[in-house]
C-alpha cells in the first residue's frame, strides 16, 4: 500500500463517518418532529377512556372515538360545529379571494396616487397587535346586532374577510413577475383593463389564485380566538376550533380526550394535504417577495 492510497482511505473513512453521523442526527431529529403527530394519531384510536393514562402507547385500539365524535350531538355537537365552520369558510373564501386578488392586481399593475400610501398604511396597520382591534370589532358588530344567535355567523364572516385586503404581499409579488409586455400587447389589441385582469392575468397567475383560494378557505378552520370572543356561550354557533379547545377543558377532558385526538386528526388531514400541495407556491411567493 502506498502512502497516497492510505491517505485517501483515511479521508474516505472520515467522510463516511461524517455522513453516518449526519444521517443519524437527521433521523433523531425527524423522530422528534414526527413523534407528536404519530402519538396523536395513536391516541385517537385508543380504547381506554380517560385523559391521562399510565402508558405512552395505547393498550387497545378502537374506532369508537371517531364514531362518538360524529354522532354524539348532546354535549359537544361536533357535526354542527363542522357545518358551521364549512359555511363560514366557503363564504369567507369567496369574499377574501376577491379582495386579495383585486388589491394585489391594482397595486401591481395600475399606477395611481393612493398606491404608495396604501402600501405604507398596510405596513403600519400590521404593527398593531391583532387583539387591539378585536375588542373594538366586537363592539362594532354588537352595535350592528351581529353578536346574537345565528347572526354571529355573519359577524364571523365579516371579521374573517373584511381586512383581507391588507394581505396582498404574496399575490402582488407573483403578479409582479408576470411580464407587463403581455398586458401592453393586449391593450394595443383593444382590451380594457378589466379584460386584461380577468382574461389574461388571472389565467397566467393560476398558482397564486389557487393559493389564495385555499389559504382563505383554511383561515376560519384554524382561528379560534376571535371565534371564542364572538360566540361566547352560544354553543350552537361554535366553530370546530372552539369545539376542540373545549374538549380539553376541565369539565370535558375525561370524556372527550380521545375524541379531541380524533377531531384533531380529522381536521388536520385535509389541511395538511392542502398545505403540502401549497408549499411550493408559498416558497415561490417568499423568494419572489425577497427578491423584490
Amino acid at each position: 500500500m502506498t502512502v497516497m492510497e492510505s491517505k485517501r482511505n483515511k479521508r474516505n473513512s472520515r467522510t463516511v463517518a461524517v455522513n453516518v453521523l449526519v444521517h443519524v442526527i437527521l433521523a433523531i431529529l425527524a423522530v422528534i418532529w414526527v413523534m407528536p403527530i404519530f402519538w396523536i394519531v395513536l391516541t385517537s384510536f385508543r380504547a381506554e377512556p380517560g385523559a391521562y393514562t399510565s402508558t405512552f402507547l395505547p393498550q387497545g385500539y378502537t374506532l369508537n372515538n371517531y364514531v362518538k365524535l360524529f354522532t354524539d350531538r348532546n354535549v359537544l355537537n361536533f357535526p354542527k360545529m363542522f357545518t358551521n365552520t364549512l359555511i363560514i369558510a366557503i363564504v369567507t373564501c369567496i369574499i377574501s379571494t376577491f379582495f386579495v386578488l383585486s388589491v394585489a392586481y391594482s397595486l401591481s399593475r395600475m399606477r395611481f396616487k393612493f398606491r404608495k400610501p396604501y402600501m405604507n398604511i398596510a405596513m403600519i396597520l400590521g404593527l398593531f397587535p391583532g387583539f387591539m382591534t378585536m375588542v373594538a370589532q366586537y363592539f362594532i358588530l354588537k352595535s350592528m346586532g351581529l353578536t346574537e344567535g345565528s347572526a354571529i355567523r355573519f359577524g364571523l364572516i365579516i371579521v374573517y374577510s373584511a381586512c383581507t385586503g391588507l394581505g396582498f404581499q404574496i399575490a402582488k409579488g407573483y403578479f409582479d413577475t408576470i411580464p407587463r409586455s403581455i398586458d401592453e400587447a393586449a391593450v394595443i389589441d383593444g382590451a380594457t383593463q378589466w379584460q386584461v385582469f380577468t382574461q389574461i392575468t388571472m389565467p397566467l397567475a393560476k398558482p397564486i389564485v389557487i393559493y389564495t383560494i385555499l389559504t382563505s378557505f383554511i383561515a376560519p378552520w384554524v382561528d379560534f380566538i376571535f371565534a371564542k370572543v364572538l360566540c361566547r356561550a352560544n354553543a350552537d354557533q361554535y366553530t370546530v376550533a372552539i369545539g376542540l379547545w373545549n374538549m380539553l377543558q376541565k369539565e370535558y377532558i375525561y370524556q372527550w380526550y380521545t375524541c379531541f385526538a380524533a377531531g384533531a386528526v380529522v381536521i388536520s388531514i385535509p389541511i395538511a394535504c392542502l398545505f403540502l400541495y401549497l408549499q411550493r407556491f408559498y416558497v415561490e411567493g417568499m423568494s419572489g417577495a425577497v427578491k423584490g
Partner: protein, 453 residues
C-alpha cells in the same frame, strides 16, 4: 394640455377663480358638476350631502355633543309604586357614546374629503369647458371604471372593509386608553376621559401594574430574540445539512419536518400542551423508561424557568420547518464562486458559514427577519395555547410567560380592564415601530442595495 390644467387645480383656486357653478358647489355639493354637463354625478354627490345632513340632525350632532363628557346619567334603581318593584333606568352607556362619537368623526372626515374632491373636480370641469376639451359623460365614466380607473372598482370594497373593521376599531381602542373604562372602580357603564393617567400607571416602576409591565416587556423581548434568531440559525443549519451533496433522501427528510407544520398550528400546540402536562405522555414515557421516579414529573408548565425554556424549545419545533421551507431556495441562490474562492483560500466549514453564508442570508432576508421578529412579539397562539401565560403569581394579572399581547388579551377579555389593555397595545405598537424603522434603516439591504449583485 391635461397636465397644464391639472397644475392649477386646488381648492383655493376653485374658490378664487371658479365660475358661479363652481363657487356654488362650496355650499351645494355637486352643483359644479350639475352646471358642467355631469348631471348624474352631480345628483349623486348632492345625495351624499343630503344624507350627511340628515345623519347629523338625526344622531350625529348629539353623538358629538356627548363625546367630551362621555355621558353623565348614571344607571339608577327607581322604586315603581304601581308595580311594587325596583326598576333600572337606562343610564348613559359611555362605551356606546365613544363608539358613535368616533364613527361620527369618521363620517365628518369623509364628507370633508368628498367636499374637497368635488370642489377640485368642478373647477377642473370648468377649465376643461373653457379650453373646449371633451367632458366625459356618465356612461363614459362607468366604462372607465373598468378600464383606466379599474383600481377604483377593485379597491373600494377592500378599502371600505379595512376602514370599518380595522382603522375605526383601532382609533376607537386608542381613544379608550385615555379614559377610565375599566372594571376597576366599576367604570364599565359610565366612564370619563382621564388623560394620561393609565400611561403613567403602566410606565411607573413602583406600582403593581408598572412592575408587571416591565417584567412582561423584558420577557417579551427575550422571547422574541430567542424565538427569531434560534429558529433562523438552526433552521438554516438544518437546511444546509439536508442540502449537502452527500445527504441521501433529501425529499424524505424535508417531508418529515414540513409535516409538523402542515398540521394546523393550534392543534399541534394543544397536543404539545397535553403531552407535557404533569401526567402527560412525555412524563409517562420518561417514567416508563425509568429516567424519573414512578410518581415524579418534570415541571414543564409549573416552574417558571422550565415553562420559559419549554416554550422556546417548542417554538423551535414549530418554527424551524418554516425557516427550512423559506430559505432553502435562497440558500441555493448563493453564487457558487463565493464558496469556491473561500475554499481555495483554505477556509473551513465554520469560517465559510460565518463569513459567507450568514452575511449573504442576512443581507437577503432582513425584511423576513423583521417580519418574523414582529410576528414573534405579537405571537399570541404559542403562548396562549401552550402555557396560557402561566405560572401566575397571586395578585398578578400577568403570568410569568405572558407576552404583551397575551397580557393585553387577559386584561381586556378576562379582566375587562379595557383602558389598560389599550395602553399596552399602543406601547407595543410604538416599540414595534421603533424596532422596525431602526433595523430596516440600518440593514445592509436598505443601505447598499447592490452589495451582493
Amino acid at each position: 394640455m391635461a397636465t397644464k390644467v391639472n397644475e392649477k387645480i386646488t381648492v383655493a383656486n376653485a374658490i378664487a377663480k371658479g365660475d358661479l357653478w363652481t363657487r356654488l358647489s362650496a355650499a351645494i355639493m355637486g352643483a359644479g358638476m350639475f352646471g358642467h354637463q355631469q348631471i348624474v354625478k352631480g345628483i349623486m354627490v348632492l345625495a351624499c350631502e343630503v344624507a350627511f345632513i340628515f345623519y347629523m340632525i338625526a344622531s350625529g350632532i348629539s353623538n358629538l355633543a356627548l363625546l367630551p363628557s362621555l355621558g353623565t346619567q348614571e344607571q339608577q334603581k327607581v322604586w315603581n309604586e304601581a308595580k311594587q318593584i325596583y326598576e333600572y333606568t337606562a343610564g348613559d352607556n359611555s362605551q356606546q357614546i365613544l363608539l358613535y362619537g368616533v364613527v361620527t368623526l369618521f363620517v365628518i372626515a369623509a364628507i370633508i374629503l368628498l367636499w374637497i374632491l368635488q370642489m377640485k373636480h368642478s373647477y377642473k370641469l370648468q377649465r376643461k369647458m373653457e379650453e373646449g376639451e371633451h367632458i366625459p359623460s356618465f356612461k363614459e365614466d362607468i366604462i372607465s371604471l373598468f378600464n383606466g380607473n379599474l383600481h377604483i372598482t377593485l379597491m373600494s370594497l377592500p378599502c371600505l372593509g379595512i376602514l370599518v373593521f380595522n382603522i375605526v376599531p383601532l382609533v376607537y381602542m386608542i381613544s379608550m386608553a385615555f379614559t377610565s373604562y375599566s372594571k376597576e372602580d366599576e367604570k364599565l357603564m359610565l366612564f370619563d376621559w382621564n388623560g394620561l393617567t393609565q400611561f403613567q400607571r403602566v410606565l411607573n416602576l413602583n406600582g403593581n401594574i408598572g412592575k408587571q409591565f416591565w417584567h412582561v416587556l423584558g420577557w417579551t423581548v427575550v422571547w422574541a430574540i430567542f424565538a427569531t434568531f434560534l429558529n433562523y440559525i438552526l433552521g438554516m443549519i438544518l437546511a444546509m445539512v439536508i442540502n449537502r451533496k452527500d445527504t441521501k433522501a433529501k425529499g424524505f427528510w424535508r417531508f418529515c419536518f414540513v409535516l409538523s407544520i402542515a398540521v394546523p398550528q393550534f392543534v399541534s400546540l394543544m397536543i404539545m400542551n397535553i403531552m407535557l402536562q404533569p401526567n402527560g405522555a412525555v412524563n409517562v414515557l420518561l417514567r416508563n423508561l425509568g429516567w424519573i421516579g414512578a410518581s415524579d414529573s418534570l415541571p414543564f408548565w409549573t416552574n417558571v424557568t422550565w415553562a420559559r425554556i419549554t416554550i422556546i424549545v417548542i417554538n423551535l419545533w414549530v418554527g424551524i420547518p418554516y425557516t427550512l421551507l423559506q430559505i432553502t431556495g435562497i440558500l441555493q441562490n448563493i453564487p457558487n464562486e463565493l464558496y469556491e474562492a473561500a475554499r481555495m483560500d483554505g477556509a473551513g466549514p465554520v469560517t465559510i458559514f460565518f463569513k459567507i453564508t450568514l452575511p449573504y442570508m442576512l443581507f437577503v432576508t432582513t425584511p423576513y427577519l423583521i417580519t418574523s421578529f414582529v410576528g414573534n412579539i405579537n405571537n399570541f397562539n404559542v403562548i396562549y395555547l401552550l402555557s396560557g401565560g402561566g405560572p401566575t403569581y397571586v395578585g398578578d394579572t400577568a403570568g410569568q410567560t405572558d407576552l404583551l399581547v397575551t397580557w393585553l388579551y387577559k386584561l381586556t377579555i378576562d379582566q375587562q380592564y379595557y383602558n389598560l389593555g389599550a395602553v399596552i397595545g399602543i406601547i407595543t405598537f410604538v416599540i414595534l415601530t421603533i424596532i422596525t424603522l431602526v433595523t430596516y434603516r440600518n440593514s445592509a439591504s436598505y443601505k447598499n442595495e447592490e452589495a451582493f449583485m
